[in-house]
């Protein structure tokens, strides 16, 4: 299903934690892994307390070393180092994905990036909002370990919208590719975890809102079973779960279940403050889980 995987590396060991994912996917679909380093003019010598590649020859040597490691595992690899003005890294990554015809960007999000990240989101989220290529994000725990990538279950959060269902086909494709099953989850809020307009309604009509949400929980079970049946008829193993509570928190709990090794989610691709005001679930889930996530950037419906 994937032909070209774009893997941006900044020279840090943290960024390299995506390599097992890229290798696994590359081998499974016979795709070429395209290693990219974007040289940032005027960039700091260290990033996240690790070295940051600043010279072109240094970068090329680094990429070649990584490439040979991947080739030894039987993966087809290409490399490229590219120079841009400071602060243009996310846009440059997205532009390369377009130019190179990449159909998936695999990258690691580091987590803490100060005020800039709060306002605009991480580099990873900015890459997502700058382009239309799906992004597989990993957020490894800060223990220096490179987690293995062997998902047995793929979590697909649904919210009964056609928009969220657009994640189903890519998820099914990945499930077949990785020999995994699909786990469909919908979170129905409780009165105290409603957001947006419904929260305003709940303020004046708490008991009715609670009863309505209970009703919604029941209907959601039927809905998920319906979707699951459709997928099962295509030969996929599917499980379903309806959870109650804060949507990103409950999804993070579900992602922490054993065997869940990947999340596939459709998103509007908002980052930073825009994501917060829009109530973006993807952005908030990203803060709460270490499970890799495939984010499919889709337009406004």
């Amino acid at each position: 299903m994937y032909r070209r995987l774009l893997v941006p590396l900044d020279g840090s060991r943290l960024a390299e934690t995506v390599l097992p994912v890229a290798a696994r996917l590359g081998k499974a679909c016979g795709a070429t892994v395209f290693l990219l380093h974007v040289l940032e003019r005027g960039a700091p010598a260290a990033v996240h307390g690790e070295r940051h590649l600043r010279a072109r020859d240094e970068a090329e040597a680094y990429l070649a070393e990584i490439a040979s490691g991947l080739r030894a595992q039987g993966v087809s690899v290409e490399t490229h180092a590219h120079e841009v003005p400071e602060g243009h890294v996310p846009r440059s990554i997205a532009a390369h994905a377009d130019e190179e015809g990449a159909d998936l960007i695999v990258l690691c999000t580091h987590g803490s990036g100060g005020v800039h990240q709060i306002l605009f989101g991480s580099v990873a989220q900015q890459v997502l909002s700058a382009g239309n290529v799906p992004v597989l994000l990993t957020r490894p725990p800060h223990d220096g370990q490179t987690p293995a990538f062997q998902p047995l279950r793929i979590l697909v959060p649904l919210d009964r919208s056609a928009f969220a269902e657009k994640a189903l086909q890519p998820a099914v494709d990945l499930a077949r590719l990785l020999d995994a099953s699909i786990h469909l989850v919908t979170v129905v809020p409780t009165v105290s975890t409603t957001t947006g307009e419904l929260q305003a309604v709940a303020q004046g009509l708490p008991t009715t809102t609670r009863a309505t949400l209970d009703l919604q929980e029941e209907e959601t079970r039927d809905y998920l079973e319906g979707v699951a049946e459709r997928l099962r008829s295509e030969g996929v193993t599917v499980s379903t779960e309806v959870r109650r509570g804060d949507i990103p928190a409950a999804l993070a709990d579900e992602a922490a279940e054993p065997d869940v090794g990947l999340v596939v989610l459709a998103t509007h691709g908002r980052a930073g403050v825009r994501a917060a005001f829009a109530g973006s679930v993807a952005a908030r889930l990203l803060d709460r889980t270490h499970v890799p996530m495939v984010l499919l950037r889709l337009g406004e419906r």
Partner: protein, 437 residues
């Protein structure tokens, strides 16, 4: 849904109280025990019906007319119960909110003006909440009102951000602060014993004079709250409707319980404010309240020197929390009427502009707030008339269609609202109304 055994394990809110609630509505419990599970939530919900608009209209009315307009608080409260429950019923029966149904039922040329009226409603609502919160900051921190308004602007954005991030403790704190002040007014009402007879009389027997129309309309607008009429109909989001008539009726009964407990609670607080203003201001010859900041004196009998700070905190808290609700109502109105919406922070920014202008020009806050509630009373008819029309239409409502008596009472409410506003406009223009001294 009502079967306790079917509640999934480990669900935080499928607790004993909910099960008790289901049993009560299912008819397994009778008497006072049947209502108990709902008291807590409704108690908290009553805060949603107390906002700076209420503070301003109640206290201005008490100062100017003593106990005379207490009946307006009582009658407006009854009307609010009827109208708010009909709005929720519309949402339950159709799965659509009031603006959406208006767009569906009315010709396009009518929709745009109706939307504009609804946006005026949203602006007037927010004006009162915002100015109220600014006065709160002004009193509490002893800073100029304009600085208070700017702080309010920052605070409302902060609240919106936190809310969207799913952070809730702040709201709980705000609710507690409003409840504390609400409790103070109720306590004062009880402690001001001697006036009980007068309160009972003026709570029931109408007092009408041409110069009362303005404040009467203000109380009405502040109590029935048109934005809540639009909002309550948005109860069933994502088009999830009860599957059976039985489920629909059960949901509607929950609504009645919510509304019939929360609104009277808020009504007692509103009445308390009016009565205390009558005692503190009117009976001492201060009959005109222009600055909302002076209204803290209504709490002095109970709280002494602490009155100013506590009043300020509650004004701030109720202003901020109601402002958030108003913004959401605005989003529903826009999406429903014209089918698209702007990012919520853009709405937040636009709706705070009139308030900043009012504060910047140094207009008298209490009078501006009363004025905004009068505007609400005028636009109220544009929400209530379609609401009664829709809820009495069996094609739209199915099994939940109004009974004949409900429709009759509904139209009576609408007629009173329209008549009061016509009287207000006519007397404001200087015409003599026959039969009114």
């Amino acid at each position: 849904m009502t079967d306790a055994a079917r509640q999934p394990e480990g669900v935080p809110e499928a607790s004993a109280s909910v099960r008790a609630g289901h049993e009560a509505l299912g008819g397994h419990r009778r008497g006072p025990a049947a209502v108990l599970p709902f008291i807590g939530p409704a108690f908290i919900a009553s805060v949603a019906y107390i906002d700076p608009g209420n503070f301003a209209t109640n206290i201005s009315s008490g100062a100017e007319f003593g106990y005379n307009l207490l009946w307006v608080v009582v009658y407006a409260n009854v009307m609010a119960m009827i109208i708010q429950s009909l709005s929720a019923k519309l949402g339950i029966a159709t799965g659509k909110n009031l603006p959406e149904l208006m767009r569906e039922q009315y010709p396009p040329w009518l929709i745009w003006p109706l939307w504009v009226v609804a946006e005026i409603m949203a602006m007037a609502t927010d004006l009162a909440e915002f100015v109220g919160a600014a006065v709160g900051f002004n009193l509490l921190l002893r800073i100029p009102l304009l600085v208070g308004a700017i702080l309010t602007g920052i605070a409302t954005f902060g609240m919106l951000y936190l809310q969207r991030r799913g952070f809730r403790p702040l709201e709980a704190l705000i609710t507690v602060m409003v409840l504390v002040v609400a409790g103070c007014y109720v306590l004062e009402l009880i402690l001001s014993g001697p006036s009980l007879g007068q309160m009972a009389y003026h709570g029931v027997v109408p007092y009408v004079a041409p110069n009362t129309f303005l404040l009467s309309a203000g109380i009405l607008g502040a109590t029935v709250m048109p934005h809540v009429v639009y909002l309550h109909s948005a109860l069933t989001q994502s088009r999830i409707r009860p599957r059976t008539d039985l489920e629909a009726r059960r949901l509607y009964r929950f609504t009645l319980v919510d509304v019939l407990i929360a609104l009277p609670l808020a009504g007692v607080v509103n009445g308390g404010m009016l009565v205390m203003a009558a005692v503190v201001f009117h009976e001492h010859g201060f009959t005109s309240l222009s600055d909302l900041g002076a209204a803290y004196r209504t709490l002095t009998p109970l709280l002494g020197p602490a009155a100013g700070a506590i009043f300020a905190v509650s004004l701030l808290a109720s202003g901020l929390s109601s402002s958030a609700v108003g913004t959401m109502a605005g989003q529903i109105v826009m999406q429903g009427f014209i089918g698209f919406s702007i990012p919520v922070w853009v709405r937040r920014f636009i709706t705070m502009l009139p308030a900043l202008v009012v504060v910047g020009l140094g207009l008298p806050t209490a009078q501006v707030l009363v004025g905004s509630q009068v505007v609400l009373s005028i636009v109220l008819a544009f929400a209530v008339v379609p609401l009664i029309a829709f809820t009495s239409n069996r094609k739209i409502m199915g099994a939940l269609v109004n009974r004949r008596i409900t429709t009759l009472v509904g139209w009576l409410c609408a007629a009173v609202i329209v008549a009061l506003n016509i009287l207000l406009v006519v007397t404001t223009l200087g015409a003599h109304v026959p039969g009114v001294s």
